[in-house]
C-alpha cells in the first residue's frame, strides 16, 4: 500500500460524513452516465423533436395553409401532372402524386408511426414482463407451457401472420396495434424469464420468503426492480422495430389506409414516382431512418449507462487517467470496510447480447 493511497483513503473516510444522506438510486447514476454520452443525448434530442413535430403537425399544417388530405392540382402538380419539387409554390418538401403537401403528410405520418410504436411497445413490455416473471418464478409446468408458447411466437414468420390477420380482420389501427403487440412481448418475455430464473435463487429472495412474502409480492417488489434496467433497454430498442413493422404493413397496403398518412403508405405510392420525384421517396424514408436510428442509438446509450463497467470506459475516453488509476488502486486493496465501492456492487450484470 503506497503512502499516497493511505492519504487518499484517510481523506475519503473523513469526507464520508459530509456525503449526502440520500442514497443515489440506479436511475440517478444512470442519468449521470447517460448525460456524458453525446450520441445518446443527441438521439434523445432528435426523438424529442420528432415527438414535438408530430404533436404540432396540425399547427404546422395551419401555418403553411396545407391541410394533410387536401390536393392542390394547380400549384402542387406540374403541367405533366407530376409532383412538384421542394420549395416550389410554398411546398417546402414538395408534393406527392395528387398534389398534397409532402411535409405535412410526413408530419401526420409521424403521429401514426410514433403512436403505434410507443403503444405497441408498452403493451408488449407489460405483457412480456408478466409472462416472463410468471414463467421464471413458478417454473414447472407453467414455465414449460409459457416458454414453449414464447418460442412458438418468436419462431413464427410474423409478416405472413400479420398479413393474414390484417386480411381476415380488415386493416385498421386497432388491428395493427394488436398484431404488432402480439409479436412485441415474446422477446421481452424470454429475457425476463431468464433473468427471473437466476434472480429467484438469490439469498434476498429466500430472505423475503422467510419473512412470509407471497409469490406476487416477491415477483413485483423484489424481482421486478432488478429487471427494470434490461427491460427499459429492450423496450427502447423495440420502439424502432414497431415503427418499421407498422410502416411495412402500411407499405404492403394492409396497415394504415389512405388517405390517412403513414410513412409506410406514403413510401408505397412514392415507389411509382421515384424517376420523376426523388423527394417523394427520400423524405419519408429519411424520417423513418432518422427516427429508428435515434431510438436504436438511445437504447444503446441507455444500455451502456446502466452497465457500471462503462463508467470506467467513459472516464478513459475523457482522458481522466488520474481517477482511473486511483480506482484501480482501490480495487487492488480489496473491499474495504470503510470505503465500499457502490458502483460495482449496485448493479447486477445485464444479460443482453
Amino acid at each position: 500500500m503506497s503512502i499516497t493511497e493511505v492519504e487518499f483513503q484517510v481523506a475519503s473516510v473523513e469526507n464520508a460524513p459530509v456525503q449526502a444522506v440520500e442514497g443515489r438510486s440506479q436511475w440517478q447514476l444512470t442519468w449521470l452516465r447517460l448525460r456524458s454520452d453525446k450520441v445518446a443525448i443527441a438521439s434523445l434530442i432528435v426523438i424529442v423533436i420528432m415527438f414535438a413535430l408530430a404533436l404540432a403537425s396540425p399547427a404546422i399544417a395551419a401555418l403553411v395553409h396545407h391541410p394533410p388530405n387536401t390536393a392542390y392540382p394547380l400549384t402542387g402538380e406540374n403541367v405533366a401532372g407530376n409532383p412538384v419539387g421542394p420549395g416550389t409554390n410554398g411546398f417546402l418538401l414538395g408534393t406527392d402524386d395528387t398534389g398534397r403537401d409532402l411535409l405535412v403528410r410526413i408530419l401526420y405520418g409521424a403521429r401514426i408511426s410514433l403512436f403505434v410504436g410507443v403503444v405497441t411497445t408498452l403493451i408488449g413490455t407489460v405483457a412480456g414482463v408478466a409472462v416472463g416473471l410468471i414463467a421464471g418464478y413458478f417454473g414447472g409446468v407453467i414455465d414449460t407451457i409459457l416458454a414453449r408458447f414464447t418460442d412458438a411466437v418468436l419462431a413464427f414468420p410474423y409478416i405472413v401472420l400479420a398479413l393474414a390477420l390484417a386480411v381476415v380482420l380488415g386493416p385498421s389501427l386497432t388491428v395493427i396495434i394488436g398484431v404488432i403487440s402480439f409479436f412485441a412481448w415474446a422477446g421481452i418475455a424470454r429475457i425476463v424469464r431468464g433473468q427471473t430464473l437466476s434472480l429467484k435463487e438469490k439469498e434476498y429472495i429466500e430472505a423475503a420468503r422467510s419473512l412470509g412474502a407471497g409469490p406476487f409480492r416477491i415477483m413485483f417488489i423484489d424481482i421486478l426492480p432488478n429487471l427494470l434496467a434490461p427491460v427499459l433497454v429492450l423496450a427502447t430498442l423495440y420502439i424502432p422495430n414497431a415503427v418499421v413493422f407498422e410502416s411495412t404493413l402500411s407499405f404492403l397496403g394492409l396497415g394504415i389506409q389512405p388517405p390517412t398518412a403513414s410513412w409506410g403508405n406514403i413510401l408505397a405510392t412514392a415507389t411509382n414516382f421515384y424517376t420523376v420525384a426523388w423527394w417523394y421517396t427520400v423524405f419519408p424514408a429519411l424520417a423513418l431512418l432518422i427516427t429508428t436510428l435515434a431510438f436504436n442509438l438511445l437504447g444503446d446509450g441507455i444500455r451502456d449507462a446502466m452497465d457500471p463497467g462503462t463508467e470506467r470506459l467513459l472516464a478513459a475516453r475523457r482522458g481522466a487517467k488520474k481517477r482511473r488509476a486511483q480506482r484501480r488502486e482501490m480495487k487492488g486493496a480489496g473491499p474495504s470496510e470503510a470505503f465500499p465501492d457502490p458502483g460495482t456492487q449496485a448493479q447486477p450484470p445485464i444479460g443482453l447480447g
Binding site: G23, E206, S210, L211, G212, R217, N226, E337, P340, Q345
Partner: protein
Amino acid sequence: MTEESAGPVLTDAALGGDDVLVRVENLVKYFPVRTAGFVRRTVGNVQAVDGVSLAIPRGTTLGLVGETGSGKSTLARCIAGLLPVTSGKVTFDGHDITNLSRRRMQPFRRDIQMIFQDPYGSLNPRRRVGAIIGDPFAIHKTVPSSERKRKVQELMERVGLNPEHYNRYPAEFSGGQRQRIGVARALALRPKLIICDEPVSALDVSIQAQVLNLLSDLQKDFGLTYLFIAHDLEVVRHVSNAVTVMYLGRVAESGSREVVYATPRHPYTAALLSAAPAADPDAAASRQRIILVGDIPSPIDPPSGCRFHPRCPKAQELCSEQDPPLEVKAGDAATHLTACHFPVEAGENLAAAAGRR
C-alpha cells in the same frame, strides 16, 4: 432414515426438558437427483439431513457446527419452513409446523426469523434500506404505513445503524453494517426464534465480535432463542449454551457447551476441536492435531454404518456394519449424546491413532 439404523435414543433431559421452544424429531430431508430430459426419472437422493433430532430451550442458544456439506443450512431451512421436509417433525412452541402451507405458516413466520450468511446477497441491491427493514411490517401489516418509518428508524438505532441512512441503498454500507441491516430486519417482528445461518463467517474478525455482541445484547433484551450455525468453533463456544455437531446429515455429538468442548466423545468432534487455531502460541505448540484423511463423502451415496468410519482414526469392523445410535455414553451427563461405537476416552491420544493409519 436408512432402514438398518435404530432410531436415536433420546431422553427428555437430552431434548431440553420442559421449556422447549423448538423441537426437531427425526428430521429427514432428501433432495431427489433426477435425470435430465423430458421424463425426469429419480435416480437417487442427496441425503442432506438424515434423521436429526434436537431441541432448543427457550431463551438459549444452540450452536450447530459441522463442515461444509454436513447439512446444517438445510436443517435450518427446514426448521424455518423454507424447504419442505421429507419426513420427521418440527414443533415450535407446542405447535407442529412441519410442512405447513404458506398461509398456515404465516403466523409462525413472525416468530421465526433468519439472519443469512452473506450480507451482500441477502439484501436486495435495488431497494432502499428503509424498505428492506420495513418489509416485515408491510408483509404482516403489524404497523400502519404512517408509523413504519419511525419504527424502522428505531430498529436501525437499536442495531447500531444511523437512522438517517434510511434512504440509502445496501451497496453504500460495509459488510458489518449490512449484517446489522439483516439483524434489524429479523428483529422487526419481535420473533421468538432467530435462526442465524453463519451470520459472521463472511465478516472480518473485529466486525465479527461487534455483530456477536449485538446478537447477545439483543438476546438479553428480548429473550430471544437462537439457533446459531457456524463452522468457527470459537464463535460457537462464545455464543452457545449447547452445541450440536453434525456430520453428513446426522448428529455426531450434542451436549452442553462446557462438556462438548472439554470432553468430546465423538472422534469427529475431537478432530474438529484439535483443528481449531489457538490464539496462544504455547498452547498451539503443545497441541496434538488429529489430521483427518480425505473429504466429507458424497451425501448421495453415504458410507454404510457409521458415516464417519472411512475417515475415523478409531474405526473398526463394526463401524462399517452398524449405525451407532445417538445415546448417552457411560459416565456422561444426561444431556451429552454421542453417536459412536467406540467413543473417545479421557486421555486417549487420537492423534497417534490417526498417524498410524
